[in-house]
Amino acid sequence: MPKRFLVSAVVLVALSGFSPFLGAQTAPAKGAQAKAMPPWDDAPPQKAAYAGITKGPAPRRDLSGFWNGEAEGGVQATGALEHPALIPGHPVDELGGQADEKNVARPLPYTPAGLAALKANKPTAGARGVRPGLQNDSVDICDPVGFPRMALSQFRAAEFEQTANQVIVVDQISYAWRVIWTDGRALPDVKSGAEPRWNGYSVGRWVDDYTFVVQTVGLDERSWLDNAGRPHTANMRVEERYHRVDSDTLELTLTIDDPEYYKQPWQALNKFVLHRLPDDFDMRESFCSPSAIPGYKKLLDNVTADK
């Protein structure tokens, strides 16, 4: 089912007075324990589960394992966390620019071309949101979420695996994997005619024992940056900076560099916290299924009618 429909349903169900996720919360594993049955469809623990846990030192040059992006706000329903398109009570302009919590305006530095591309995108979320049915978000009909939107809309759980020459990232909500090459290769020339990809082409390197930096190019310009419909070109470069703080904590800073649409690079995530999940965490399957959309819309209608 479309991921943004999923967000809408979660919000509506929560507003209606109950949440199916509350009963599914689990605390992080505190050691190997015998299980009556194998784990199945785990939900990432919420923020409270991490309060007061014992943290060890960060392992050297190691990102491997399951990581929880949901506990610290990875579900960014109305736009990238560093540039939310809608904070209740805060003024917004027609472009979704908004003052931050200290009332300091932080509009994105759109170029004229970027502004035109933004206006052509019609999201249902955020300050520029249109009524359902009038949107043109292709994720709603099961087009791939793509990168970096997978990290800027519903960052729930992700698995990192390291091989001799790759870091492989498996993302829960888009149920897609990314390959980050670590064998020292150069990025491809995106103007050479190579076919762009929904998840791009990535290379990464350790800049110190605890910081891994990834550069991604070759991204398909049909995807959006986030649920607020922010655009990008095929010449965008995305930088991810992963800093391993301790055994439990990984910080991600994600920078968008797209001179055709943005006058200067901007941070879509700034030291966004990911918590380590247990080694036996079973990442939920999350496929977009066009045949499931009618049933989902019916469920949504029923929830709305109940309200």
Partner: protein
């Protein structure tokens, strides 16, 4: 228990046969098909994959279907299917299903289909 499209898999290595690995998958969503020929399965399907590493460059896969509700006995869908090791720098092409691309494909190759939302 929620059924998932890809099911849940468990693997173990045999101590007696060092180069064999067997994986069992249960819980696939019954809406999926086993293959492009439309062969069905139930929610009771169990799939057993046996990977045998023949040598440095070759692995054989034998895949067994066990589904008593749909088939009177287990059957082999793959029997010693050969997989050849690719170079370590092999770059798997991206292959994602895109409904918006499907529209173009149908216009160019297949039969036109009704367009539900002209905004896309």
């Amino acid at each position: 228990m929620v059924l998932v499209a890809a099911g849940q898999a468990l693997a173990h290595h045999s101590f007696t046969a060092e180069y064999n690995s067997t994986r069992k998958t249960t819980g696939p969503n019954p809406k999926s098909w086993i293959d492009h020929a439309g062969r069905p399965h139930s929610n009771q399907l169990r799939v057993v994959e046996a990977y045998h590493r023949v040598d440095h460059d070759n692995t054989e896969l034998t895949l067994q279907i066990v589904d008593p509700k749909m088939y009177t006995e287990p059957w082999l869908a793959l029997n010693k299917f050969s997989l050849h090791l690719q170079p370590a720098d092999f770059d798997i092409p991206e292959l994602l299903c895109s409904p918006t691309e499907m529209k173009g494909y149908n216009n160019d190759v297949g039969d036109p289909v009704p367009v539900v939302n002209q905004n896309y």
